[in-house]
Point group: C2
Chain length 256, copies 2
C-alpha cells in the first residue's frame, strides 16, 4: 500500500510521545510508523499505554538503525522543523504540505515525513537530504510543539486535505427542520394568544415586536417536534387554573 505517508520518528526520547503520536496518527487514518534508534527499550509498555488503543500502529512500526535505512525505499522526504534553518530548501506550511502529500501519494510516490528528537529536532545534515521542510507557523514566541502534537498537525492537515465535511450543519437527529407553514402556523397562534392576553400594550409597537418574536423562533431553526413542544407550552401557559386545576376558558387559537 503506497497511498499514505510514512511517519518516521528519529531518535524519539520518550515512549509516551511515541504512544501519543501513534494515537494521533490513527485518529487521522495514518498507520505506518518507522522508528530510528529510539532512546528507550522497544517494544515499550509505556508507549502502548499512551497509545490508548492504537496498538496496531505500534505493533506494525519498524525499527531502524539509521535514517538512511529507514528511508531507503522512499522516494520523497519531508522534514518537520520548528526553527528556520540556513538551508536553502522549500518551506511548506502543514496545509501546503498536506496537498503535496496527497498529490504525491495519488501519483504513487512513497512519501515519508520526518520528525526529529524532542530536544534537538532533526540535524541539518538530515534535513539537507529532504525535498522540503514543513514548518507550522505557530506562535513565534512559543513555537516548540510537543512531538505527538507535531505529528497530529501533519495528520490532521493530511486528513482535511481530502475531507468534505460541511463546516457547519444543523444536526436534526431523526427530525428534519419543520416546513415553513408549520412554523407560520405556530407564529400565528402565538400572535393570537398574545393579542388575547393583552401582551401588545402599545399598538404602534406591535408590528416591530412581532417581527422580533418571529425572529426568535425563526432563528432557532425548529423541527416539527420542537414546534409541537412549543404548542404544548403555549397551551399550558394559557390554561386558566384554580387551585392548580385547569378550568374552562375560551382561548383564541389557530388550529395546530
Amino acid at each position: 500500500v503506497t497511498d499514505q505517508p510514512v511517519v518516521v520518528l528519529v531518535e524519539p526520547q520518550l515512549p509516551e510521545n511515541v504512544g501519543t503520536a501513534a494515537r494521533a496518527m490513527l485518529n487521522c487514518g495514518l498507520e505506518r510508523m518507522r522508528l530510528v534508534t529510539p532512546r528507550f527499550a522497544w517494544p515499550s509498555e509505556r508507549a502502548a499505554q499512551t497509545s490508548s488503543g492504537a496498538d496496531r500502529v505500534l505493533e506494525q512500526a519498524s525499527v531502524h538503525r539509521s535514517l538512511a535505512e529507514a528511508t531507503a525505499d522512499l522516494n520523497r522526504l519531508y522534514a518537520t522543523s520548528a526553527r528556520p534553518r540556513d538551508l536553502i530548501k522549500p518551506v511548506l506550511t502543514p496545509r501546503g504540505a498536506a496537498s503535496e502529500l496527497r498529490a504525491a501519494c495519488i501519483a504513487g510516490d512513497r512519501v515519508g515525513v520526518l520528525f526529529g528528537p524532542e530536544r534537538t529536532g532533526l540535524l541539518n545534515e538530515d534535513i539537507a537530504l529532504c525535498d522540503a521542510v514543513i514548518a507550522a507557523p505557530v506562535n513565534p514566541a512559543f513555537a516548540s510543539l510537543n512531538l505527538a502534537q507535531a505529528v497530529l498537525l501533519i495528520g490532521w492537515e493530511w486528513l482535511m486535505a481530502a475531507d468534505s465535511t460541511p463546516p457547519r450543519i444543523l444536526r436534526h437527529g431523526t427530525y428534519g427542520p419543520a416546513a415553513r407553514h408549520h412554523l407560520a402556523s405556530f407564529l400565528a397562534r402565538l400572535e393570537a394568544e398574545l393579542d388575547a392576553c393583552g401582551f401588545f400594550r402599545v399598538a404602534e409597537k406591535r408590528p416591530g415586536m412581532l417581527d422580533n418574536i418571529r425572529g426568535i423562533f425563526t432563528r432557532a431553526e425548529l423541527t416539527d417536534q420542537e414546534l409541537r413542544t412549543l404548542h404544548g407550552i403555549v397551551t399550558e401557559l394559557v390554561t386558566l387554573r384554580v387551585d392548580g386545576r385547569p378550568v374552562a376558558r375560551e382561548p383564541q387559537r389557530e388550529t395546530d
Copy 2:
C-alpha cells in the same frame, strides 16, 4: 482582553493533559484557560512540568466549582464532542468553528470553548446550553482524541483562520534566487565542457539531452552562491591531474 476564546476544561482527570493543553494553547497564541473542578490537586507540579514552559497559561488559569460559574460572563459557548449526540444543535468542524470564533471575537463577544473529561466527554445537559458543537471529522474507527490534542486542533485552526503564511516558499537564506542570465551562463559553460569532453556521443540525441540537463539545474532554483559552487565543481572536474597535481590543459570555457 476579549479578542481570543477562553478554553474551559471540565473536570480534567490527568494533570499532564492540562499541562500539554496549556502548551498547545500557547503554541497557538491562546492564553486563557479555565478549569472546572479538576480531579487532581491544583496547582499541579506535574501539569507545570508537562507544559514545557507554558507556565504562564497555568498560573493565570482560574478554577471554578461549576461549569455555570466558569462560563457566567461569557456570551457564546462551543462544546467539543467526539461522538454524535441526539441533540439538535449546529455541528461545526474545527475549521468551520475557527472562522466563527474569529468573527465572534472581532465582534467583541466573549467566547468559550468547552472540553469534557477525558473518559466521558461533556454531559448532554452541558452541551444543550452551548450554541454549537465542534466535532473533528477524524477516523470514525478511532475517533477519540487525547484532550490536549483536541485543544491543539481548535487552537491550530484558530491560528490558521488568520494566518497568511504562503503554503510553499523557497527559503534562500541571505541569497536570493540567481538572475536568469547567471543560470544561462552556467548552463552554456557546462554545455561547452560537455562538448569538449565528448559527453554527447550521438549527435541527434544532443538537443534532448541538453534540455534534460537544463531541466535539472533549472528545477533546483539555484542561488548565485550555488551557481558559483557549481562553477567551482566543473572547474575542478575538468582539471587534468597527474599524481594528484593539476597540470595545464586548454579547457573551452565561457567566462564566469
